[in-house]
């Protein structure tokens, strides 16, 4: 993953993981009701560094480990939220959180509604998307579409350090349950960091780059691929607008449609599977809301229709990258595509977020 390009100005520069830790510490300093719990939260690795030092600063009462009981612990967090706290619950992988969806979907998402507004469930559930270094079929799933499908939940997917912190703060302040989807590969990406008021509210997308020929709206790491693609397209004289959706629920339909009405072409790119995924949802929104503006059929870039393979030889062809975005746009515009576009530069290893990465987890 390339670091955020625009690291300029007076602000600090942090990694994604550091930004999440800072955001958590800020939230805990402002509000004594905030606690953070999860497998390994206070351990020496501190959830990829995102919780390091928190127990030292806030004590074992507010920062603690849990038994390997995802289902009960989620219900316990719901109970804490109902009774005056604002828990942040962490999962090292989305895949592990599957044990707790009954509590998330039947309980956390619905208590506010089904008890007629008598109770609220302010809690944040962090889930990390694994990828690379042989994470394989059960340590790499991206299932944010599931949570986006459920009324009563909010779902955020920050990309840049600043947004990781802003969206974490906004999620903790939110009175409803928020699913906070992190991508392991974004933990190491460095970027500008400001400790002020969050810029955009939860639910708003960010136009990262303005363009006039095509709109590319993306989630999570696909935002970085989209930016890279836009750069390459620009070199060929194609002006792409890149939107970081930031939130999968609620979706910022307004920003999306305004952009497509301007460009007339649309590509959605997501880190999840295709069928009933976020890319399809965006395409559907655009088709329903900007039909007359569309000059060509929209496209969706998603994972191929298989579980994640472990072998690096297969994961290399499994994950879509910037060339896939470039190809989609060029085809849409009726332009030729370089047959070598997918070839991998010498020395680049596609199963690693950066050259220094050596697993094992």
């Amino acid at each position: 993953m390339t670091d955020e390009t625009a690291v300029v100005g007076g602000g600090r520069v942090l990694t994604g993981a550091e930004a999440i830790r800072e955001g958590t510490a800020e939230a805990m300093r402002c509000d004594p009701r905030v606690v953070i719990m999860g497998l390994g939260v206070p351990d020496p690795k501190g959830i990829f560094g995102t919780t390091l030092g928190l127990q030292e600063e806030f004590g074992a009462r507010r920062v603690f480990d849990i038994p390997c009981s995802e289902n009960a612990v989620t219900g316990i967090a719901v109970g804490m939220a109902l009774n005056g706290f604002r828990p942040i619950l962490t999962h090292q992988r989305v895949d592990f959180a599957l044990l707790s969806v009954e509590q998330i979907v039947n309980q956390a998402a619905k208590w506010h509604y089904m008890f007629g507004g008598k109770m609220r469930v302010p809690m944040v559930i962090r889930m990390i998307v694994g990828r690379g270094w042989g994470q394989g079929p059960q340590h790499s799933q991206a299932l944010h579409a599931w949570f986006a499908h459920v009324p009563g939940l909010k779902v955020v997917l920050p990309v840049f350090p600043q947004d990781s912190r802003d969206l974490l703060l906004l999620s903790v302040q939110d009175d409803d349950p928020v699913i906070f989807i992190e991508h392991r590969w974004l933990h190491g990406v460095r970027g500008r960091f400001d400790a002020g008021e969050p810029g955009l509210p939860l639910g708003r997308a960010a136009v990262l780059r303005e363009g006039k020929d095509v709109t590319i709206a993306a989630f999570s790491t696909m935002v970085l691929e989209a930016l890279e693609a836009a750069k390459r397209l620009d070199a060929d004289g194609i002006s792409a607008e890149v939107i970081d959706m930031r939130c999968a629920r609620p979706l910022d339909t307004e920003t999306l449609l305004a952009s497509v009405r301007k460009t007339g072409c649309f590509v959605a790119a997501d880190i999840g599977a295709g069928c009933c995924g976020l890319a399809s949802e965006l395409v559907s929104l655009v088709a329903r809301g900007a039909h007359t503006a569309l000059r060509a059929a929209p496209d969706a870039i998603t994972l191929p229709e298989s579980p994640t393979p472990t072998s690096p030889a297969l994961s290399a062809v499994f994950y879509p990258r910037a060339p896939h975005v470039v190809t989609s746009v060029r085809r849409m515009l009726g332009l030729s595509v370089d047959p070598d576009i997918f070839s991998v530069p010498e020395g680049v290893e596609l199963d690693k977020p950066d050259p220094a990465f050596t697993g094992p987890f």
């Binding site: 219900g75 007629g116 939940l153």
Partner: protein, 318 residues
């Protein structure tokens, strides 16, 4: 009123309320599933009578008795079951989603076992906040088959939480007898003990006995914060879900039912109080008619009250 006569009054009131629900059900105005507790009232009343107002209670699909025993508002419960906007959950929940925070009844949901960890979470919050409230969570023996039950025991024991796990063993999960669900050697109190959670089993139809074991457990909890479990043997008289009886459909015998009816929690306490000279026919009649009026009024209000407006569909959605 003598405290035990008051207990009798609570038992009787719950019985009469639920019988009224059953009786009114075929007017088809209560358009939601109802799981009646008739026959199981002593567990609810025995345990809740030992709790303080600030203590908390949660329950599952069969929650009317727990709600009322903890002091939940009868009117709002019936309004809720009738789907009315002034119901305790604004008509959004129905019989399976009761709540009365003022009374310390923190909610009930019909996913088997799912309030168990939520109740542990309430208690955990109380511990972290330095409060001494006790949280009692009611569930059936079927719920102990869900893994979340053991996960919750483990967490509550680990953190020394003031949780009273109250399991009402009524021998059935819907129409499924114990034989097809739990090995004969299985011990629910043993599961608690294996987590270091003090547990006792008792006659769940004898409210005096329930009060005794609840008091003992709560005394323990007061001294050193730790969960306890009560396993209360009891029996549901009516069908699993709905207003009628279902002994004839073939999953249990009329004899079994009749044997348990002999052990009617209301009658057992009545006879004891009469024998002890604490209750007379006259007093009971007075109680019955007073309760009867209350119930009649509550039904009248519930049937007449207004439904939520269509726009209310989107209230309290995030």
């Amino acid at each position: 009123m003598d405290p035990r006569v008051n207990i009798f009054r609570t038992l009787l009131r719950i019985r009469l309320v639920e019988e009224a629900v059953a009786e009114h059900y075929t007017r088809w105005k209560m358009r939601c599933p109802v799981h009646l507790s008739i026959g199981q009232e002593a567990a609810a009343v025995g345990v809740c009578s030992m709790l303080r107002r600030e203590d908390r209670v949660m329950s599952g699909h069969r929650s009317h008795a727990h709600y009322l025993a903890k002091g939940g508002d009868l009117r709002r419960m019936l309004l809720e079951i009738h789907g009315k906007s002034s119901g305790c959950s604004g008509g959004r929940g129905g019989s399976m989603h009761l709540v009365d925070l003022d009374a310390g009844f923190h909610g009930a949901v019909p996913i088997v076992g799912s309030t168990i960890p939520i109740a542990v979470g309430l208690a955990f919050a109380d511990k972290l906040a330095g409060r001494d409230n006790v949280t009692a969570v009611f569930f059936g023996e079927g719920a102990t088959e869900e893994g979340v039950f053991c996960e919750s025991l483990n967490f509550a024991a680990l953190h020394g939480l003031r949780v009273l796990f109250v399991c009402e063993n009524n021998l059935y999960s819907v129409y499924s007898p114990m034989e097809v669900r739990q090995p004969v050697e299985r011990s629910i109190t043993g599961l608690a003990s294996a987590h270091g959670v003090g547990a006792s089993q008792a006659d769940g139809n004898d409210v005096d006995i329930v009060r005794g074991v609840a008091e003992k457990a709560l005394r323990g909890v007061a001294v050193s914060p730790a969960p306890k479990l009560l396993l209360l043997d009891t029996y549901r008289w009516r069908e699993h879900c709905g207003h009628g009886f279902d002994n004839h459909i073939g999953y249990r015998t009329e004899e079994e039912y009749l044997a348990w009816r002999e052990r009617d929690p209301v009658r057992m306490l009545r006879e004891r109080l009469v024998a002890e000279g604490l209750l007379t026919k006259g007093v009971e009649d007075a109680l019955s008619s007073e309760i009867g009026c209350e119930i009649a009024e509550a039904f009248e209000e519930a049937e007449g009250a207004s439904f939520p407006r269509a726009e209310a569909l989107f209230e309290n959605v995030t």
